[in-house]
Each structure stands twice: as C-alpha cells, then as structure tokens.
C-alpha cells in the first residue's frame, strides 16, 4: 500500500498542504476568522487557543499542531498582552523548517490593518505551497486515529467493528493507529488489558481507565449524552463496549497522551483524561476536542463513527465519517462517507465495509476530499488541561 505525501524537513510526510492561521487568545479570533474568510475553499484553516492564562498542555498542543505534517505554513495572531508564549511557538515552527509570521494586533494597527496584512501573507504562502509536489509515502509513515460520537445502539454492531477491521488491516500493513477516550472504555478495562504487549503496559491501561472512572464520578456525569439513550444505549459500560470495538483486534503496543507521537507502527491507546485532581472541568467537552488531540499526536486522518449522525469534520486532518445506522445514512447521506448500516440490513459484511474504509483512506490520502472537507467543515476546539508525562511502561521497546 503506497501513498503520496508532502515531505517536510523533519522527515515526516503530510497528506494535505495547509496554511494554518492560529489565534493565541480569543481576542484575536475575529481577526483570524476574517483573514481566512478571503480563502474560502482553499487550504487555509483556522485554529487557536482562547484562554488568556498560561497552560503547558495548550502550549504543547499548539506546537504539535503547527508543526503537523499536513501543515505547510503558519500565521500566528496575537492580541499582544495574552499569556500564550508566541515567541517560543514561533521559534519551534521556524526550526521545523516552515514559514511562520506573527502579527500582533496591538502593534500592527488594529483589526483592519492586521486582517489586510494577514491576507497578503497567506496569499503568498498559498502561491509557494502550490509548487510543492507529492512524493511516495509508505503506509508505515501514516498515522490514523479513530473516534466515535453521536453513538447509538447500532454503533457498536456495525460502524465501530468495521472501523476496527480497517485498523487491523492498517496495523498489519505497518501503519500507526490510535484509539481513544478512556472515559468511553469504562467497563472494558480487563478485556482491553489482555491485549497489551507487556504485563506492565496492561497495568497502565487498567490504571488509565480507573483514572477516567474516578474523574467522571467526581464530575457527576459520564461520557453519556441524552441522544445515546434515545438511540438505545442504556449505560456507559454498554456505550464503552461499542466504542471499544473500533480498536479492532491487534495487540496494543502502547499508551500515549495528547501530543505524544507514537514511536513506530502499531495500535496505541490515547489517555485523554487529565492527571491530578479535577481542575478544568470535563476532559473533552465535545468530540472535536478528541479529534484535535489525535491530530496533535500526528494523525493524518481520523475515522469518525456515528450512529445518530454527527456532521463534524476538523481543521488540519481529513475526517472520514462512518455511519453506523442505515436510517441516519439515508437522512444524512451528503455528510457521510461510509454506509456501515448496510451490515445491519444484511447488505454487506464487516470485512467488506472494513476494506471499503481502507480503500477510501488511500483515496483521501491521495487528495480526494472527504464529505466534511467538501462541505467546508473545519471544527477546532482546544481548552485547558494538565498532564504528567507517560511512565516508562507505556511504550515498551
């Protein structure tokens, strides 16, 4: 399985060539939105962090996102007085070999002139990036994530296990695959731990789920929305068993945290629940927060399994929408890339849909837009969190 990608100076390859416009506090968000509005339909994406208080996690996430292989150039937008360390971020982007420019609204003449200057710089970058050519990219250079959202009673029977079959094929071919949301693996800890490549990693997997259970118990709500109940899911552990199916059946090679880039091919679990006492609220306040974290860990592309029918895409990396429920697919066909509900109606097998996902992944890697990309979805959200580094048992040699 050979793909095509853009070679970056750090040796990684991207499947898109995007100019990122990154606001470093909410006060610069409007200027960013106005800059990108001049480039509708082009590869210019808006990302950012809204907070004015410093946060090591957010700083690291923005570093990873701005140096993601799908990004070719970055415009940083500062108001001027916020706590975000724009100097360090700019230096890291520059050292990655990417063009970077910082505009500071308070010094650059305010809203109107910053928008104008930003548009000029972005136009120039698009012209330069248009000259880049794709080079062969091995499947072992690809990182794929999977999330599920808007789950119902069909998700765990069709869409998630089909995504799991795709993961199994990709891992076997040498790719890196990441699954996540330890809060949606509550109840699966023992069966999941049995798949760890070492007993020490198994212990880390159990501990990560136990941490999630404690965290959500403190907050009073699990990762369970009213739409899940409407769709036939009764408890978080039932939702978890369905969500778990998207990990496939490969051995679990490691446990990472947001922003950690897996060292080699294999299947990895991402621990998204903060460490320490409960501080900044819910771990991931919506599906896109998880998608952003997977992208920060290097995902070139994300599989998103939905039963109720999420329409979300993402900034930076294409999202392939796998629809688990055949009724939802008929209602939202324009938003869905894969009709996994055929499995429920006896019109396709799990393996057939799994293979269809892998074939689509190759097309999308080669430049074919996903449904959410075509519709202009570029959701992005990043909030406060705090993490300790992973322990030595998390990435067995």
């Amino acid at each position: 399985m050979t793909l095509q990608g853009y070679l970056r100076p750090d040796g990684r390859k991207g499947i898109r060539n995007i100019v990122a416009v990154a606001y470093l506090v909410e006060c610069a968000h409007h200027v960013g939105r106005q800059i990108i509005s001049a480039f509708d339909g082009q590869e210019v994406h808006l990302i950012g962090f809204p907070g004015c208080f410093p946060n090591a996690y957010a700083q690291r996430m923005m570093e990873r996102l701005c140096t993601h292989p799908n990004i070719g150039a970055v415009l940083l937008l500062s108001l001027g007085c916020e706590s975000f360390n724009k100097y360090s971020l700019s230096k890291i982007i520059e050292e990655s070999g990417r063009p970077v420019k910082t505009l500071t609204i308070q010094n650059d003449g305010g809203t109107r002139s910053t928008i104008a200057a930003g548009r000029v710089w972005v136009s120039k970058q698009l012209e330069n990036l248009a000259c880049d050519v794709r080079v062969p990219m091995d499947i072992s250079e690809l990182i794929v994530g999977t999330v599920c959202g808007g789950s119902d009673g069909t998700s765990g029977i069709t869409g998630n296990p089909a995504a799991g079959r795709a993961f199994d094929s990709l891992v076997a071919a040498g790719a890196t695959c990441i699954f996540e949301e330890t809060g949606e693996l509550i109840g699966c800890e023992e069966i999941m731990a049995d798949r760890a490549v070492t007993p020490e990693l198994a212990e880390e997997l159990r501990a990560a789920v136990a941490k999630a259970a404690r965290y959500y118990a403190t907050l009073g709500y699990g990762s369970f929305a009213p739409g899940n109940a409407d769709g036939g899911l009764t408890t978080i552990e039932e939702k978890s068993m369905g969500a778990y199916a998207k990990s496939g059946a490969s051995p679990i090679s490691g446990l990472i945290k947001p922003g950690d880039i897996p060292p080699r091919g294999g299947l990895y679990l991402m621990d998204v629940v903060p460490d320490g006492e409960v501080r900044f609220g819910f771990p991931n306040i919506s599906d896109n927060a998880e998608i952003v974290e997977m992208i920060a860990s290097g995902c070139h592309m994300v599989f998103f399994v939905t039963g109720r029918g999420s329409v979300s895409g993402s900034a930076i990396s294409p999202v392939i929408k796998i629809c688990a429920n055949p009724d939802t697919y008929r209602r939202l066909e324009e938003d869905m890339d894969v009709d996994a509900g055929r499995i429920l109606e006896g019109r396709a097998s799990l393996d057939e849909v799994g293979q269809e996902i892998v074939t689509l992944l190759q097309d999308v890697a080669g430049g074919k837009p996903t449904k959410s990309e075509s519709l202009g979805h570029q959701e992005f959200i990043l909030t406060y969190k705090s993490f300790e580094p992973i322990g030595p048992a998390c990435l067995p040699a």
Partner: protein, 110 residues
C-alpha cells in the same frame, strides 16, 4: 463475531444475539407493538414498539442481576425483567456512573 461472517442471528431474524452469554437481544429494525417475537418459551407479543438498536430481554432477569451484551456486563437490573421486555434506562442502571437523559418516559417510548 467471526471474521467476515454475517452478524449472529437468533431464531428471529429481526433480533441479534451478539454473544451466547448475553441475556438481551438487539433489535435489527423497528419492531411494532403487537408483533410476536421468538423470545423465551413459545414467543412473546411486544407490548410496545421497540426501535432499531434497542434491546429486549432474552431471559428473565432478576433485580440486582447483571445484564450482558457483547458477552460483557453492561449494568445491573433495577426491576424484574421478563423475556421480551424492553431493556433500557427504566429497568437497568450503570455499575459505574449514572446515565444522563431528559425524560425517562420519552426515552423508553422509543
């Protein structure tokens, strides 16, 4: 579920049995109230419509007993459940964190 095999069927093609260990079936499609389903001894007439993706009991489940789906426990019964009954938030609770929904009558109507 075996590789490439069709989904495991119960005796009734409208119902899925995901694991032999399970005490619930999953409805593959909406099954209207009044329909006979092949559950328990001699079958059961559904008291209400059960929507696609929802569960009905395969066996009697006593209060406090675990409910199994995918061969794994997904919560505990909080009321007596008879074969063919809708199994949902009105008669099962999580053994971890409570489920969040708006109006229980609306949820179990589905």
């Amino acid at each position: 579920m075996g590789s490439g095999a069709p989904l495991t069927h119960a005796d009734d093609p409208r119902l899925l049995l995901l694991s032999e260990k399970d005490n619930v079936f999953v409805c593959r499609e909406d099954i209207p109230a009044g329909e006979r389903v092949r559950v328990g001894e001699g079958g059961v007439t559904l008291a209400k419509t059960i929507s696609r993706g929802h569960k009905i009991a395969r066996h009697e489940i006593a209060p406090g007993a675990k409910v199994y789906k995918y061969g794994a426990p997904i919560g505990s019964a909080i009321a007596p459940i008879a074969p063919g009954d809708h199994v949902h938030v009105h008669n099962v609770k999580s053994d971890y964190t409570p489920s969040h929904f708006f109006d229980i009558q609306e949820v179990i109507k589905k």
